[in-house]
Amino acid sequence: MSAYSVTEPSRASKSVAAVLVVVYAIITLLPLLWIISTGFKSGPDSISYPPRVLFEPSLEGYVNLFTTRTRIGAEQFAALPPPETWYDKIVRQSGTVIAGQSRFGERFMNSVIIGFGSTALSIFLGTLAAYAFSRFKVPLKDDLLFFILSTRMMPPIAVAIPIYLMYRELGLSDTHLGMILLYTAVNISLAVWLLKGFIDEIPREYEEAALIDGYTRFQAFRKVVLPQAATGIASTAIFCLIFAWNEYAFAVLLTSGKAQTAPPFIPTIIGVGGQDWPAVAAGATLFLLPVMIFTILLRKHLLRGITFGAVRK
């Protein structure tokens, strides 16, 4: 290395850049930290003025998130046996008792089922199609690929109307299967485009060798290509999962009870006189945390995922 390089930024300019980026990062992360910290505040702490940075942590938000509570008369309240569990204790502090379980757990599970179901299906179909597009002469290949991509441009509401009618006829509205199929249809364009890019990068010679060794195309695909594409498949899967996990428009229009996912549910968590912010924040934290972790795991393939493979770094 030479001591002086014209393309290497000077130390001063590096430090200035670092300071500015750190300032931006702090500002941009503040709302996220606020969500997480509000989840651990008590009701009064969450709505105090000025906003509290230091507070006594409480699990009230999390308890409220998972339970429904009722207020009972003072005499009845005094006559209750002492609280048996830690969450009973927290609820009693605000003069209420636990009446039952809330819907949050169920909604969260729906998100898990629909998210993983549609991801598995998108990856399965997407890998097959991507392999065919990558390795074979498919008639009208470019047109088909563009068609697959263009389905993503449609505003969700534009197709939501007939899908709503179609699902009503077929008995698929408000079912897990209906949502899985729908999210698969939305995600498949991403899956095909990303996976085609990843499979294009695997040298054809590996398969050719396997074919010469007597593998069938199918065996070569399964035993040679799939293991090579594993990283690509995994990161594509995470992108599909994040989309299905975050999706709101279709979920709010096509589900109401049984198959409702968490995004339409969290904004409906209400307490006395408006939203119960610690509970909303607790729900948001539990819901956003998996995605934050995935983002950190995915950081190397992030760019590729968000641009449908158009930018590969």
């Binding site: 980026v21 941009t28 906003p51 997407g126 249809a185 498949i188 709010v252 968000i306 641009t307």
Partner: protein, 315 residues
């Protein structure tokens, strides 16, 4: 692998023949692999789209399936294109699009340019900065209504700390004209990292020797920036704008939860208005025409834009 007579024969025969003997032809496999995807897209994207087109010529109302459906020709389209309300919504959408894209490009490019100084820890910072865009827009939109509370919200409090304007003297989501900026702020907060990532890829794609050559020619840093950096990042930047443009034209979730289109109709984006017409007023035929108009608009604008993008790339 088992060694059957067929396997042995296959190894002895030329490859092309072997494939025929031992399994499906490549062509058959290609079709077998592509068909399910195409079928799914036809069933859940194209068929509904055609259905929407058909409905758009009728006065069908999905909440009254028993009522007789009349064929109304182009009346729905005529009504939409001559309605003042819809032009107002289009303007709201345009305002949202123009400002979000401008801010995201300016901030995103600047950030990428700074991060490209390759200071220590830039990888970690990039990952942290990127977090907001991966989160659920609905949950984020909902939580921002809390940050925007005049009395207790963090946003108003921060403004008070920095500028001295009392936190309770303005309401970001209430009347007073700030709401349309509120949605722009949240969208910019979420999506600036997207533009930043793409710009960063663009900056990193510029080979060092170009700058070295410019340095030999004694081009000033300023000149290098405008004649090397900007033109070479431009195709990337335009791609980012394309993605953001399409996404924000469709924007629904974050804004619905943040303002619901209010106060009044101040933040009523076309997509939110469409949802009201379709699923609250249940004017299915009318809203189908509305949906088609929006889809054609996005598709048309995107095609023109992609042509321009390709020209820039070829330069």
């Amino acid at each position: 692998m088992t060694d059957t007579p067929i396997d042995r024969m296959a190894r002895a025969t030329p490859r092309i023949v072997a494939r025929r003997v031992r399994g499906l032809s490549d062509r058959a496999i290609a079709w077998l692999f592509v068909a399910p995807t195409i079928f799914l897209l036809l069933a859940i994207n194209i068929f509904p789209l055609i259905w929407t087109v058909r409905l758009s010529f009728t006065n069908y109302a999905a909440n009254r399936p028993g009522r007789e459906v009349e064929w109304v020709g182009l009346r729905n389209y005529e009504r939409i294109l001559t309605s003042e309300g819809i032009w107002a919504n289009m303007q709201t959408t345009a305002h949202f699009l123009i400002w979000t894209i401008t801010l995201q490009v300016l901030i995103g490019f600047t950030l990428a340019w700074l991060i490209n100084r390759k200071f220590k820890g830039n990888d970690l910072l990039t990952t942290l900065i990127v977090l907001p865009m991966m989160l659920s827009p609905a949950v984020v939109g909902n939580f921002w209504t809390f940050l925007y509370q005049p009395q207790i919200g963090l946003f108003n409090y921060m403004i008070e700390l920095v500028t001295g304007t009392p936190a309770s003297s303005f309401s970001m989501l209430g009347p007073g004209g700030l709401a349309k900026w509120s949605i722009i702020i949240v969208d910019t907060w979420m999506w600036t990292p997207f533009v930043m990532l793409i710009c960063l890829a663009g900056l990193r794609s510029i080979p060092d020797y170009i700058y070295e050559a410019a340095e030999v020619d004694r081009a000033s840093k300023w000149r290098q920036f405008w004649t090397i950096t900007v033109p070479m990042v431009l195709p990337f930047l335009m791609l980012a704008v394309l993605f953001r443009g399409i996404e924000n034209f469709k924007m629904f979730d974050m804004v619905v939860l943040l303002t619901g289109g209010g106060p009044g109709n101040e933040t009523l984006l076309a997509s939110i208005d469409l949802k009201r017409e379709a699923f609250e007023k249940w004017r299915t035929g009318y809203s189908s025409a509305y949906a088609i108009i929006l889809f054609v608009t996005v598709f048309g604008l995107a095609s023109v834009y992609v042509k321009a993008l390709n020209k820039v790339k070829q330069r």
